[in-house]
Structure formats: C-alpha cells, structure tokens
Amino acid sequence: MSDSDIWIIGVAMTPFGRFPEKDLIDLASEATLGALHDAGQTMQDVGVVAVGNLYEAASHNAQRLQKQIGQTGVPAYNVVNACATGATAFRVAMLSILAGEADIGLAVGVEQMGKMGLLGGAARPAADHRVYEPRGRYDSVIKTEGVLGTGLMPGVFAQAGTEYALRHGVTAEQFAKVAHKNHAHSTLNPLAQYRKEFSLDEILHAEMIAYPNTVLMCCPTGDGAAAAVLVSGRRLRTLAPDVRRRAVRVRASAMTSDPWTDAGTAQPDVNTLTRAAADQAYERAGLGPEELDLVELHDCFATAELLHYDNLRLCEPGGAGDFIDSGAPWRDGRIPVNASGGLLSKGHPIGATGVANIFEVATHLRGEAGERQIAGARLGMTHVIGLASACAVHILEAPAR
C-alpha cells in the first residue's frame, strides 16, 4: 500500500426511519461509535472530524457531537452540500489526511427530517394588505411555483426524466421498473426504512405525484446517520492485522459542480456534472464501468436512477430503458444497482445519504452484507447528487483476500 492511499477501516449506519424519541446528536453518536468500534479506534485516535448535515447546519453539529463523545481539540468541520452533504464530509476528512494534517479521520452524515412531506417547506402567513412589489433576482410579484411550472423536487426530477424519455423513447413503465427493483431489494436490508415489495402494477397505479413518478417512485423523508473512519496508507501499516484485513481502499474520489449549460438556467441539469464526476473517477481509478461489481447511485426519484445508468456509463448511450428491461441492475443481474433498496426504499435522510452509500458498498466489499450480500464483490461505486448542484462519485476496492 502506498503512503498516499486512503483506506476505510470502519463504517456504521443507524437504521433509517423516523425516530422522534432521539435528537440529531443521538443519531450521529450511534453511527460514530459504531464506526469507531468497527475500526478498533476511539475518538482519542481521530485527528479530524467532518460532520455533514443540512437542516440543522447552523447548530454546528461537529462540535455538538464532540461534546457528547469526545472533545480532543482536533479540527472539526461542519459540512453542507445539498444531497451530496455526507459525501462531501467524507471528502473533507479524506483531503485533510492527504494534506498531512491528520492520519485518521472521521466522516459523519446525519439528518432528522421527521414527516416534513414530499414538497418540503412551510407556508408563510399572508400580509394584511397585499401589494405587488417586484422581489428577488427575477423581480417576481407573486410566488411562481405552479404558475410558471414547478421547481419542487418531484417535478424537477420528473422533468429531468421526461427530457431523456422524449429523446430516447423511455416509457412510464420502464421508469416504474426502477422502483419495482429497489423496493424488492430493500426486503433484504434490515437497515432500510421500508422493506415491502410492490408489484409493477401497484407502483404504476399508486398516487401520482409528478408524472411519471407515483408516490412509490419518490424517496421518503426520514431520520438516520452513517459514519466512516478513514486512515492514511502510512498509518494503516501500523494498525492491528484484524483492522488491515478488513480495510477498504478508496480507489477514486471525484466531486463536481454544475458547468454552465443553456438549459441549466431554466431547470437544474443533473446529467452533465454526474457524467463529469463519473469520468474523473474512472480515470483516477484506472478502470471502466464493466469492472464494477455493484453501484449505489442517487435514486431520489425513479426517473433519476434511470438517467444515472447512462450518466455513470453503466449502459449504452441512450439505452437506459433497455438496461432496466434487461434486468442488468437487479441484484442477480450483470451490474447490481442499489442492492440496499436505494433512496426509494432504504430512505434518504439527506445529510446521511452520502456516507450511507459508502457504508453499503464497503460492507459488500468486506463480504459482510448478510442476506443482501453481492457475492464476491471486489469493486463498487457510490454516487450522490444534490441540487445546487453538487455531485460526488467514489470507487472503492475490496481488501486483498
């Protein structure tokens, strides 16, 4: 192992779901202590702490976590980056190690959303005397949601899906097949928020949210946390054989934001930055999509997963509809995608997701995924994208056996 390699020596996640009896730091502590135990380390060994969280970001949760489980004075970072928040926290810990500031880093992603609903946000009280006045960067005199189209997440990802569908002939049923697969996969994952299989017919005829996505094709809101312990190659050599034997190598870590596109001014473009991140990751790892044994990608909506088959180069260009029809992304297919159940069924506590994906892939690569194990997995990819936009792709490699 080279000094400049980064390795994962511990991972953990809480079950995803709704835990009103806990607070954010209970969830973060549970995942962190689990990952440290898994790594054979304690907070006393950690040289840098990065905590990703979206909805309580102004509370400085890295320090709140330290105050519950270990105040050692090391650098602590609070990370926010949309749905890529957790993956960004992972990268902050990684970059600190690469910069030589720490040998062991802790990355945590945590969120407590409760039942905030698919659309998010709360209505503001009406003014006593309402007079139109231009506001904001568009000089709007009214709230434009529903008047000038929709900019809410279900509608944005529905439109991203139909853009691909109009170009490449994808059907509503093909989009629904993504949800069919991920709900079926989740029945094997004890940490998933939902573990119920639905028929294709039930998915297609469930309540329509934003065509073509029915409610069973939209991820739920929820609570949960995940954590990972990272270490430099140099430090790994000094650790116990039991730790080294289970260490997962980070073969590539790539992060992108939106480059300018003409349509990006009307609606976020989820494709261009994902393609760029995937290409950078493949190049850094020196391998191609055909070598991957499993992928955990950002299926916030069923339409999104289908686009990312193409963006992550898992299928032929324009061929994402045929790819799902072929059964390739099922757990017994050519390249299993979202064996965890994905965001659609495992759940999507926003800040936790980017670390939970790394937990999932690392667990398979260690051969420790129990009933849902993808047999013999050696190389896996994680992908998250959040609208702002931010995209992170990691390629992980199994320990030598």
């Binding site: 231009p134 568009y138 991203a160 853009e163 109009l166």
Partner: protein
C-alpha cells in the same frame, strides 16, 4: 376593474401587441439569463443588454403535477421550452393534463394569463404556453 397590470416576473414584457419574454444577453459570449446578474456564469463577462426572446418554441421536458400546495390547482403541466432562436424557460403548458398529448419537440406558443390581483386592484400577469395547431 383592474387599475393597472404588472408582469408577474421582470423577464415578461407586457406589450399589448406582442407580449414576450426578454433576457439579459452577455455582451461577450451571448449567454442568456432571466435573472439579475453580477456576471456571466459561462465566461465571467460583465456587460449585458436586454434581448427580446421568441414567442414560439419546442417542449424539451415536462411533468404533470398532481400533488402541490393547497393554493395551486392540480393537475397541471409544467414544461421546459427551448425558445426558437435561443433561451430556455420553464412555465405551465396551458390546457393539457394528458401526458400522451406531449410528444417530442411539441411546438408551443406563448400566451399571457392572469395570476391574481393585489389589494389595490393591480393585476399580475403571468405567461404560459399552448400547443400550436398542427400545420
């Protein structure tokens, strides 16, 4: 009776003859923007001029929204439209709620619609698109 009319957004021009959209065009690279700018996101230029946009275009993407805030009537169609000659905008597709009616490159034309009145009787005017009759 409305005392006056105002555009719902600053990039809608309420010309009685030809209501249309306008964009800030980057003087260096030609990129188009509907919002107030600090600089160009493509080339970082800082010179902008208003440019009128075409009233016609083609549907690039769509959805039919069924779940929305209580104040928004559903279902309705939201579309992303590539305007002829440049510019991409999002708006409602008027009078269409059947996804089967929206085909690749469906041609559409801009229309203005009332978006309510304030307590002084001023009317807000928004815009949407309607499918163009088959040629």
């Amino acid at each position: 009776m409305s005392k006056s009319r105002v555009p719902a957004v600053g990039y809608l021009v309420l010309d009685d003859e030809q209501p249309h959209l306008r964009a800030r065009e980057c003087g260096d690279c030609g990129a188009l923007y509907l919002d107030r700018r600090n600089a160009c996101a493509r080339c970082s230029g800082t010179r902008f001029e208003w440019r009128p946009l075409a009233r016609t275009g083609r549907v690039r993407a769509f959805t039919i929204v069924h779940r929305a805030a209580k104040s928004v009537p559903t279902p309705y169609a939201s579309v992303v439209v590539d305007l002829d000659g440049g510019g991409v905008v999002k708006a409602n597709l008027l009078g269409v709620t059947d996804p089967a009616k929206i085909t690749a490159n469906l041609r559409v034309r801009l229309e203005t619609v009332s978006a309510g009145q304030d307590d002084d009787g001023t009317e807000a005017v928004a815009f949407g698109f309607s499918p163009e009759p088959e040629a």
